[in-house]
Amino acid sequence: MPGIIRRIPAGVISTIIALLIWQLIGSFGPLAGDSFATASEAIAGLASLLTDSTFWAAVGQTLQMAVIGFVISIVIAVPLGLLIGLSRFSYRSTKFTFDFFKVIPPIVIIPIAILAIGPNITMGVVLVIFANVFAVAIQTAYGVRDTDPVLLETMRCYRFGILQQLLYARLPSASAQIAVAIRLAASAALIVAVVAGLVGGAPGLGNLLMRLQSGGQVEKTYGVLLALGILGILMSRLIVRGQRRIIFWSGR
C-alpha cells in the first residue's frame, strides 16, 4: 500500500488534500455560508464556465491584452536595453529613471489610462507595456554591462568590432538576464491584463470576475479564480520550457 502511495506524484496527493480541507472549511468553518464556495462548488462553477461562451471570450480578451502587450514591451525593451547597456554613461544615466518607473505598479496609472484611452483592450495593452518595458530594458542593459570582461578583452585582441562584440558576446551573455526578465514579464502581463479588467473596466477575465461577484454568482466567481490560477501555471511552464531551449549553456 505505501508503495502505491509513493508512486503517486506529491502534487496530486497534496492537491487532493488541499481540496478536502477547502471543502471542510467551506462547509463548517467560521466563514462558511453562501458567500464562501466550497471546493466542489468552485469546481462546479468552473465547469459551468467552461461551457459558457462569455467565459471563453473573456479568456481570449485577457490573453489578447497580455500577449500583445507582452510582445510589444519585449520588442521595445530589449533593443532599448542593448543600446543603453553599450556605454557606462547611458546605463548610469537611465538607471535611476527606469528603476523609478519600474517599481511603480501599473494600477497607479489606471485612472489616467481610463481618462486618456478609455476602458478597452488598448488600455489593457498599454498598462501591460507600462508594467514591463522599464524592467525588461534595465535588466537587459544590466546583462549587457555584466558581460565577462575577459571575454570582451579576448575579442578585442582578435580585433572584433563593437558590433561583433555586441552580437557574439554581449547579447548571448545578457540573454540569461533577458530570459529572467522575460519570464517575470510574462506573468506580470497576465496579472496586469486581469487587473486592467478588474479595476479599470477593460474587458476580459478581470471584468467578468467583477461582474460575477457583484451579480452574486458566488460559484462562478470562485470558478474564475481557479481558471486564473491554471492559466498562470500554464503560462509559466510554457515560458520556462522555451527558455531552457534557448539558453542551454546556463544551468550547466
Partner: protein, 257 residues
Amino acid sequence: MTIPAISIRDVTMDYPTPDGVNHVLDHVSYDVAEGHFVSIVGPSGVGKTTLLRLLTGLASPTGGEIHVRGERLTSSPEGLAVVLQDYTRSLMPWLTVAKNISLPLRRAKMSRSAVQERVQESLAEVGLTGTERSYPWQLSGGMQQRVSIARAIAVRPSILVMDEPFASVDAQTRFDLEDLVLKVRDDFGITTVMVTHDIDEAVYLSDEIVVLHGKPAAVRDVVKVEIPFPRSQMATRNDHRFAELRTRVYGMVRGLE
C-alpha cells in the same frame, strides 16, 4: 638595424586605487626581435599580466611607449593571437568548440571549407579531435585551455601572446603542447611572448628570458638561452647548459642573486 617586432620603451604603469596609485611597472624597456620566443618570469603579482595587457593593446601605459613593427600601439595590433590567463572565461559558452575556434577566422575571407579544414587541423594539433561539437563547459579545464590554444594557432598569427598557457594540463600534455608551440613558431615564423611560472619551461622554449622583479617592477635581467633549436624534451633538458640556466634564473626570480 632591423625593426624589432615589439619594442617596449620606458613603460610605466600605475593603477589608481582609493588611496593614491598602485605603482606596478617602472621604466620597463625591452625589444622583442622578429621571430623570437620570449618568456617573462617573475614572482606572483609582480606585474607580468599587466605587461602583457600593455603589449596586446588592452591597456595603455601611464608612461612610455610600445611600438609594434615600428607603429605606436593604440589598439590590438594586426596579426595578434592570445591565450589569456583566465582561459575558462575567454571561450564563449554559447558556441561549440569548433565555432569558438572559427569565429576569428570569419573575417579572414576564407572559404567555408578552408575554415573547416583549419579548425580540424588546429584541434588535431592540440589533441582534441572529436570535440568540435562539444561546448566549452562540457570539457575539463585543461581541455578548455587547449581549445584556447587551438584558436590562437588557427588564425596563423604573426604575434602570439600567452599568459601561463599550460598551467592546468598534465605533464605529458604539457610537453606535447610546448613542442607544438615550438613547431608552429618554426613553421610560420611567429613572434611569441609568454608568461610562465615554470622556469624549466621558460628555459626549454625561449630564445630569451625576461626576469621582472621588484615593486614597482623593472626588468631585472635578460637571460639569453643559447641552446640551439630544434630542441627536444629529452636531450635539451639533460643538457648541462639547461641546468645552469635554470639555476641562474631561479635565483634571479627569488631575488637571491
